[in-house]
């Protein structure tokens, strides 16, 4: 029942799609590949039963990723289940070191511990790992990549004629969505400080969190006590500080990812970032209020033009109609939407801007970005 609404519980098994989110493409279930590219890479999807794992398949199909074959990998719990993808039947295999023999590209989204255990194993066996967890993001030897932002960070890694594997890290969803909008402005006027407040969706905590939000909402509307398993407090009609562990400096891990990953991706140790990360009762797209301070002046009209020309970014900024980006509008979409572009009245001399950004957490925030990285390897 809940899967019908949250729409992200194994769509390739249940065939269901969501109605809390914008209509998702059904292409994946209907397209027939004329031919599989015999010269294409063999792909492994690690954590295929999760929300991001399922989105990996959706994106591979939507983009006609030229794979030779795909291995559907998950924990023992899901091993043996059947899965239908692009008119072929697959049996989900239990993840093991041997799973990566002959694999060219391994898309990981099964949590940090699985990545830490199997990421290096997959790389040793020659696979290029694109890891969606935080396990290797800050490792100096691991590129942290948003294709539209810092493709050069991975240019030394190729599939063709490679002698060994490698690991490439996918940034955190909040970082990807923020930097998709902030980077084009940073290139023009150099961001010196960024104050970010997030409005984060349930999907960041996985499909089970999305189902809990829906279940709780039904319970509260029925006057019942809400079920709190994934989160320890009521989420329906409420919001709370992000559930990531809080560090000794008072920031939670989610917030420090924005601080540290921005520095690494921009290759700028001096950029100052602070963030407050909040979970809101929204299903699958994040929103972020971003205040920017620039080294050089940048007026709002120029900023809007820069954003309109930025790859993977769409500008929704109609002041007269009070129409700006919303999480629902970007759900199941590739582009990150930006609006509320305005000169910051609290800063002098056009050295500040406020913007509001929305992006699909599962798609550009995770699966799409990872597949784009894989495409750059070809």
């Amino acid at each position: 029942m809940h899967a019908v609404v949250s729409g992200h519980r194994l769509p390739y098994i249940s065939g269901r799609t969501g109605n809390l989110t914008a209509r998702r493409s059904k292409r994946a279930n209907t397209t027939v590949r004329m031919a599989f590219r015999e010269d294409g890479p063999t792909v492994a999807v690690v954590g295929v039963t999760g929300a991001v794992g399922q989105e990996f398949l959706q994106v591979l199909s939507d983009r006609d990723f030229p794979y030779r074959s795909i291995r559907m990998l998950a924990s023992r719990r899901s091993a043996g289940r059947h899965l239908s993808f692009e008119n072929r039947e697959y049996t989900i295999e239990e993840l093991s070191p041997e799973s990566f023999d002959g694999v060219d590209v391994a898309l990981f989204s099964a949590g940090g511990s699985v990545s830490r255990e199997f990421g290096p194993v997959a790389a040793e066996r020659g696979a290029v790992v694109v890891d969606n967890s935080s396990a290797f993001r800050m490792d100096p030897g691991v590129p942290l990549v948003i294709p539209e932002v810092n493709p050069d960070a991975m240019k030394h890694i190729r599939l063709e004629g490679r002698s060994k594997g490698a690991i490439i890290a996918n940034p955190n969803c909040s970082t990807i969505i923020c930097l998709m909008a902030a980077t084009p402005l940073h290139r023009r006027a150099k961001v010196v400080r960024m104050v970010v407040s997030t409005y984060q969706a349930a999907s960041g905590a996985g499909a089970a969190a999305m189902e809990e939000l829906e279940l709780q909402t039904r319970e509260v509307l029925d006057g019942k006590r809400p079920t709190c398993k994934i989160f320890k407090q009521q989420y329906a009609f409420n919001l709370f500080s992000h559930n990531a562990p809080v560090l000794s400096n008072g920031y939670n891990e989610e917030e420090m990812k924005l601080v540290k990953e921005t520095r690494k991706i921009w290759n700028d140790e001096d950029v100052k970032v602070t963030a407050t990360c909040i979970r809101v009762p929204v299903m699958r797209a994040h929103a972020e209020s971003v205040n920017l301070q620039f080294e050089n002046p940048l007026d709002e009209d120029t900023a809007r033009e820069i954003l309109k020309g930025a790859p993977g970014v769409v500008v929704i900024d109609d002041r007269g109609a009070n129409r700006f980006p919303t999480p629902l509008e970007v759900s199941n979409k590739d582009d990150v939407a930006v609006g509320r572009v305005r000169q910051d009245v609290s800063q002098d001399g056009n050295h500040g801007l406020d913007i509001f950004v929305c992006g699909d957490q599962i798609r550009k925030g995770a699966a799409l970005n990872a597949v784009q990285i894989a495409e750059m390897l070809l």
Copy 2:
């Protein structure tokens, strides 16, 4: 049906209380005043059928406000309806100039146009008006007051032996909730710049908006197209830029209230404020992410101690348990809750703090603050 959940549709008429919000006190329906203060003021409640109007009654009762009598005033549409309050029956009267004859304190919450038309009339007839609308807030002759913050702004206005009436403005809900937490810190270290991102509840748009949020949520869960009357887009499981009109500088009116009202309340034309105001699918309490820059250093421990000692403020800041303020927790509560108090890593030398604030929009954001102002008149 929706009133049962939103719980703010004429509780004194329907007797219903909410279950989407924290349990509200039922005292108002059960208390019997031993004696009405014959020397107390005659109070007029303008807009008594609205969410704030109903909360005026709740707060007057909760605080044993010593009124001699109360006039229940509303538009013609509601005139003639019966209302039970503190074991007395009232008939709602249609608002007219004569409504204010003999009235000492008039609590207005019926929108800006009603305030503009009848506020001066009530004052002419000798009443002290406490106006919850934005009509007079920026009028240099009208005090804009948060009792815990700037009581001196209204010290020249008294009920006893007054020769004429006056108008006192209640600040905007977002301003009140933000400044309840920021002011004690401002007094210690002087805030030079404040970056605010809000997470605003449906109640700010009135009881009908709360009902629409609930109705839409039921519809979306049932797979139906959501009803959009109050807001022009889906609110359930979504969020959007505040619906206030957007001004030529790109800020909406709600955001500029935070900018301008802060300067007036702090009597500091130099304080720099920027705000991004967002509506989230929460019923009746606002949350705000506030980044503070100080002229003088202020460490987080000192800040927390200052906040613990601040009137009307409660600190909820348990990093180990990841327990911080939530809108649900402060719903129907008087105190504004503050947490996530931490040194801003993007600022040097203890000159910055990040905090997260939650407050009941209808109560401290509106009705309670107004009744506190009325109490100061006694």
